[in-house]
């Protein structure tokens, strides 16, 4: 074995060393415990989703008579079409996508331009602005819930009412201090010589932003995009307050409203349709998701 091979083994180690793992007793124990953990996680985390799939494709009476029965009368795909048509679930899903898209766009706009200003342009007031943005991270969200609602239904200066408009969801959700922090930290980690060189070459602030900062920021744009889109897809309380009109409601607001008036099988189908998109997105971009979650933790420290 080469030295690099040994080192690779060593950096891989955790509590147990490579040496420990060669002891048969340890190896058996790790394998057994590992299998048990994966099995338990499978039952606890994927099990409910599997049951949801089963309930969504069974009739209500079957689910009620025997919750663990496996499709006694075959798979009933009609629940899914029923949910799509009779409950107008397509409309709610479209509204959710509109909410996500707008929050994503404005969230990125604010985080990228603001982060660029704080980290690279650094005018005299950058310090105050970044402190004021950071401060909001430490203030519990509950403090401004009611005041934010009253602000949105009658915007100061403009006197516009954003109730029952997507703007009312987009703009407050896009105002995210955590995103600004992520972007400005990322930009600060880029060697400043790069920007100096561009400046010496005569590039202005706009040019540097467009052809240097944006391409360099691709990894952080990905992280912020994931966090923002998933956050918007999951949000409940704020859209509940701002979108009382059923025609504009995203699924998270519509689902609890239609729960009691919808047939169980059809309702389960509606729940299933709601999880398909985020679950597929997650399975497709596992590494990015887990890295975003991990880096969120690193910043909390």
């Amino acid at each position: 074995m080469t030295t690099t091979g040994v080192r690779a083994l060593d950096t891989e180690r955790s509590i147990l060393s490579g040496m420990d793992r060669r002891v048969p007793r340890v190896r058996v124990a790790v394998t057994v415990v590992g299998a048990l953990i994966v099995l338990a996680l499978g039952v606890a985390c994927a099990g409910p989703l599997f049951w949801l799939f089963k309930a969504a494709t069974s009739t209500s009476s079957e689910t009620l008579a025997d919750p663990f029965g496996f499709w006694p009368s075959g798979i009933h795909w009609e629940n899914l079409t029923e949910a799509w048509t009779s409950v107008r679930f397509g409309t709610y899903l479209l509204n959710t996508l509109i909410v996500c898209a707008g929050t994503w766009f404005f969230g990125l706009l604010i985080a990228l331009t603001g982060g660029y200003g704080i980290a690279i342009l650094r005018p005299a007031y950058a310090r105050v602005v970044s402190a004021a943005v950071l401060a909001t991270l430490f203030i519990p969200g509950v403090i401004s819930l009611v005041a934010l609602y009253l602000t949105v239904i009658d915007l100061p200066v403009l006197n516009v009412n954003l109730l029952n408009t997507f703007w009312g969801v987009w703009l407050p959700a896009a105002t995210n201090a955590f995103n600004v922090l992520l972007v400005s930290r990322f930009l600060q980690s880029i060697p400043p010589a790069l920007f100096d060189a561009a400046r010496i070459d005569g590039a202005g602030a706009v040019r540097i932003f467009w052809s240097l900062v944006l391409p360099l920021s691709r990894p952080i744009i990905g992280v912020v995009s994931l966090l923002t889109v998933i956050g918007a897809y999951k949000d409940f309380l704020w859209p509940l307050l701002v979108l009382p009109d059923p025609d504009l409601q995203p699924i998270s607001v519509a689902l609890p409203r239609i729960e009691s008036s919808t047939d169980l099988g059809v309702f389960m189908a509606a729940l299933l349709i709601s999880v398909v998109l985020p679950v597929l997105l997650f399975l497709g971009f596992q590494r990015q998701f887990l890295r975003a979650a991990g880096s969120a933790g690193a910043i909390k420290e």
């Binding site: 994966v38 606890a44 200003g117 969200g141 005041a147 009253l150 602000t151 887990l290 979650a293 991990g294």
Partner: protein, 313 residues
């Protein structure tokens, strides 16, 4: 703690520093362009973050019906404190937070430590752990609500029925409602903590384990004397964030029980919601919000002060 480094790292462009600043030289030096870059942030934070915080302070001292607004001094706070439901909500929220802490704090840590030892199945375990987190909370809550059905068709009652137990009332039972909601909320969120701990575990320097091993420390002592102290920073922060988060729990009790049965799952945020959006009493709702935020602020300050003393001693 996060502190942004805003010290200028590069010299100012030549020629801008000495000359007396006039509006024209400010625009020529790129000041206007810079301000334009700040504009989206300033407008959005000004309108949807900073102004509402200031407005909360004002609102808590006012009584408004959108036509007439009058100053009422501390009347809103007095009416909050006089509400017999306040004690109920404080008690329920505290019980909720404590149970969430007992279940939700050690489980992710131990799970992360075990998962970090896995080799071939670590990636699979991470994906499984994080799966509930990507499910929209409303969907998870509604799904669990059917699991908790009080009749024999509920999933938990079916499983317990095999052992001859139940059926239990779950969400309809005053004694079981909070633990039942906590279990659901923990299920929905524990994956985040596991992934964060896993990332932190990967950064522990391997020499620490090696020297512990040379000193003859077994697996348990390596965990106790190397892993735990190395994770202390992130553990302390996660504990505080969990406390602050669970004190503001809303979606789960709102959808599952709307505070019932007989207000046994009424949390502080539900009470704020009722004041504001059921009774239209915005002043009273803001006063309670401020009291809660103040309590959380004091809690955080005491916590950070205590843990700082503890970690330096």
């Amino acid at each position: 703690m996060v502190v942004l480094d805003t010290e200028p790292r590069t010299a100012a462009p030549p020629g801008t520093a000495r000359r007396p600043r006039t509006p024209v030289s400010w625009v020529r030096g790129g000041g206007l362009t810079t301000l334009l870059f700040f504009l989206p942030l300033l407008l959005s934070f000004g309108m949807f973050s900073w102004w509402p915080i200031v407005r909360s302070l004002v609102l808590s001292l006012q009584q408004t019906n959108f036509i007439v607004t009058e100053w009422v001094g501390l009347d809103n706070f007095q009416r909050v404190l006089a509400d017999p439901l306040l004690g109920t909500a404080v008690w329920n929220t505290t019980v909720f937070t404590l149970i969430a802490l007992v279940i939700g704090f050690p489980v992710p840590l131990l799970l992360a430590v075990f998962v970090a030892e896995l080799r071939r199945t670590r990636a699979l375990a991470s994906v499984l752990v994080y799966l509930p987190v990507v499910i929209p909370p409303v969907v998870a809550v509604l799904l669990w609500k059917t699991f908790y059905r009080p009749d024999e068709a509920g999933l938990f009652n079916t499983v317990l029925g095999w052992a001859g137990l139940g059926p239990y009332e779950w969400l309809n039972s005053g004694a079981m409602v909070i633990p039942a909601i906590v279990v659901q909320a923990t299920w929905a969120s524990f994956g985040t903590a596991v992934i964060i701990y896993l990332a932190a575990l990967m950064t522990i320097r391997t020499e620490l384990y090696e020297s512990a091993e040379i000193d003859g420390a077994g697996v348990v002592r390596r965990f106790w004397h190397v892993t735990l102290p190395q994770l202390r920073g992130i553990l302390l922060i996660m504990l505080l964030l969990q406390l602050i988060g669970t004190f503001q729990v809303f979606t789960e009790p709102y959808i599952m029980t709307d505070g019932g049965p007989e207000n046994r799952s009424l949390t502080l945020l539900l009470l704020i919601y009722r004041y504001a959006f059921v009774s239209g009493d915005f002043g009273r709702a803001t006063a309670l919000s401020l009291l809660l935020a103040l309590a959380l602020g004091v809690l955080s300050a005491v916590y950070l002060w205590a843990t700082r003393r503890w970690s330096t001693s």
